[in-house]
Amino acid sequence: MFVRIWNVIIKELIQFARDRLLTGFILLAPVLQLLLMAQNVERGISEQPVAILDLDRSRLSRQLIVDLDNSDELQVQFYVDNYEQIHELLDGGDARLAVVIPAGFAERLLAVRQAAARQVQVQLFADGTNTMAASVTLSAAGNVLSRFSADLAVSSGLMVPEIIDFRTNIRFNPTMDIRDYTIPAQLGFIIYQVTLAVAALGLARERELGTLEQLMVTPLRHFELTLGKGLPAIAIGGLNFGVMWIISLTVFDTPMNGSPLLLIALSLLFITTQVGWGLVLSAISRTQQQAILFVFIQAMVDVAFSGFLVPVKNMPEALQMIARFVPLQHYLAILRSVMLKGAGLEELWRNAAALAILGIVMWGLGLRAVARQVD
């Protein structure tokens, strides 16, 4: 039995190695992808271009502009003379936020102590086409303005300073490094892509090329064929994981706060689960084209529900339910928790159990589907 499984494994690996382009792609593309994406997410939303319409041109208004420019999220790039120009800059996408400081800004603020004091209105216009960027820039500018306002109030004796000294203490990712948050997830996602695609095409290809019939006349049993197809995919996924994990630890200095052994064990569990699902897809597809279509749609669904781009917590209840059936979602939670939070099995047993159950179900379905396909 082991000899027969071994033979299928060897056959698979030889076939894989023969397609040079594919081999190169599967082994190298993930690494390139990781490097490329890590490069780009480094900064998050920072230094967004801001246009200023300063109708006051006083010392105080210039102080406010400097404060705005000093915040990480904003960078003052344009000084305009009228509303018309604000329109042009926001229309063209050159500026993401426009700040209008009204005439009489300083005069009114300096008179704030007097009974007839009036509030001064500062207008903020954001480009709402990218809602995330809009809310980040608006809240950054809002914070600058309220600090500016509070400082003025304190200095003119309207408010007692610092009555509550608010201290924040950030756990797990103290510098709030976006890379540390996204790289573990990218690592998981890339392994996911490769593993699923390798597994999903195996049987459909044999069927399309007619070699499946040849395999059927050999003494191979169904589970031997399934294992022989699945194990090389697990090996390739495991290899990918190893390489990318080392790269993320060495090149990007991603923290590794939890147990490496736990991470390796759970990664193999995830890869096994994912390969099982790939086998199901490949066994129910008649042609490679169909398998590709399935994998593609599957990948889109999985990415959507994985918490990769959107935290699962933000989703409506019904979608959160669906997310529980997506192995990738559990694996990304595991990667982030183990690497950043240093969580152990006590905290992660739910995710691990979910992966194990999904894995058993998928391999079960895979075996049945292969049996049906072959007979």
Partner: protein, 371 residues
């Protein structure tokens, strides 16, 4: 070159697309289908943070402080604990996002005019959510301070009033921003279909048959791309209908311009795939390349969620060589800003340039292979 042969290839290709239900799905319906799926997931509104409180003061003032922090729906008090030790497991499991510790003597210090220290412990794993939580807490806390500590008239305690307005998307509805952006991703599907069609001809050997006919390489490639661009237009229209009718995203621009620029986008993507397909033997590899080169990076680099990073020349370059970056911009400008071609000359020309250069490269390398 003969137009008749070109049209013959086009006709054959359109028939292929129409007759094979799976291919037809891929080219026409799948973008609309994916748009529905992805839009639901990506249109997240501002998140509610769950809060755990350790109140060591237990005075009416500390309770009033907590009540004012949780008075709106943004902070949700889910746990109250009695010791420091209970906080950490909750953060580790991810059941709460924020922990707030009110020290003993809080009320006494505040009444005495001293600064009382309040400690917020925040899960920084997700920096976006983390900084959102910090901003939220400090502004709520400042509001409480302003309410209790003002000595002058309340109105004047905030001398500067901020008026905010989001243009083009007044309520900052994330759905309205995401759906036009996601169009760029889902409209890659017709390109995938072309990649599979080009490699399938090689894999199944029908390409050899075609080469025995008088059809020239040029006619073959251009005919194929044209057929997919034309059928791709159907998908662009269907996706637009889904966006406007289903998601009720405002469409403020010109329909003809949208379709023209969608064709421009198809050309850029498909021409790149023609080059790739010249070197690829199997559909499997073609799918990998489309997935890993076009689709996945588009989620991160095309300005869909966070704006295109201008940090380093390298990151700008990687974003700009992706056709989707330009179409995300085009689509948002047409949908939400409702502007004309004049405002989109740059992305439109970049896409056209990419398309023509890649098509030329594809034709050159194609000839070599056939000859």
């Amino acid at each position: 070159m003969s137009l008749r042969r070109l049209f013959a290839v086009m006709r054959k290709e359109v028939l292929h697309i129409v007759r094979d239900p799976r291919n037809l799905f891929l080219v026409t319906v799948s973008p609309a289908f994916l748009l529905v799926l992805l839009s639901y997931v990506f249109s997240f509104e501002i998140k509610q943070f769950s809060l755990v409180v350790l109140d060591l003061d237990r005075t009416s003032l500390s309770r009033r402080y907590l009540a004012s922090l949780t008075s709106n729906q943004d902070l949700n008090l889910t746990h109250t604990v009695t010791g420091y030790d209970a906080i950490d497991p909750l953060l580790l499991e991810g059941t709460v996002d924020v922990a707030l510790v009110i020290p003993p003597g809080f009320a006494a210090e505040v009444r005495g005019g001293q600064a009382a220290q309040v400690q917020a412990i925040i899960d920084g794993t997700d920096p976006f959510a983390g900084s959102q939580a910090i901003n939220l807490l400090s502004s709520l806390s400042a509001a409480f301070v302003a309410g209790t500590a003002t000595t002058g008239p309340v109105m004047a305690s905030q001398p500067v009033e901020v008026l905010t307005q989001a243009w083009y998307n007044a309520g900052l509805l994330s759905l309205h921003g995401m759906v036009p952006g996601l169009l760029a991703i889902v409209l890659i599907m017709p390109t995938l279909a072309l990649a599979l069609a080009l490699t399938r001809e090689k894999e199944t050997g029908t390409l050899e048959g075609l080469m025995a006919t008088p059809v020239l390489g040029f006619e073959y490639v251009v005919g194929k791309v044209a057929a997919y661009i034309i059928t791709g237009q159907v998908s662009a229209l269907l996706a637009l209908l889904v966006a406007v009718l289903w998601f009720e995203v405002p469409f403020r621009g010109n329909l003809a311009l949208y379709l023209l620029l969608a064709a421009d986008y198809f050309l850029a993507c498909m021409a790149a795939v023609v080059v790739v397909a010249n070197y690829v033997k199997s559909q499997q590899t073609a799918m990998f390349i489309v997935l890993l080169v076009f689709i996945v990076p588009s989620f991160f680099l095309a300005g869909l969620i966070t704006p295109v990073s201008t940090g380093s020349p390298f990151s700008v370059l990687t974003s700009y060589v992706l056709p989707s970056t330009h179409f995300v911009e085009i689509s948002r400008v047409i949908f939400l800003k409702g502007l004309g071609l004049a405002q989109m000359v740059q992305p439109a020309l970049i896409l056209l340039g990419m398309g023509l250069v890649a098509l030329a490269l594809g034709l050159l390398s194609f000839k070599k292979r056939v000859g």
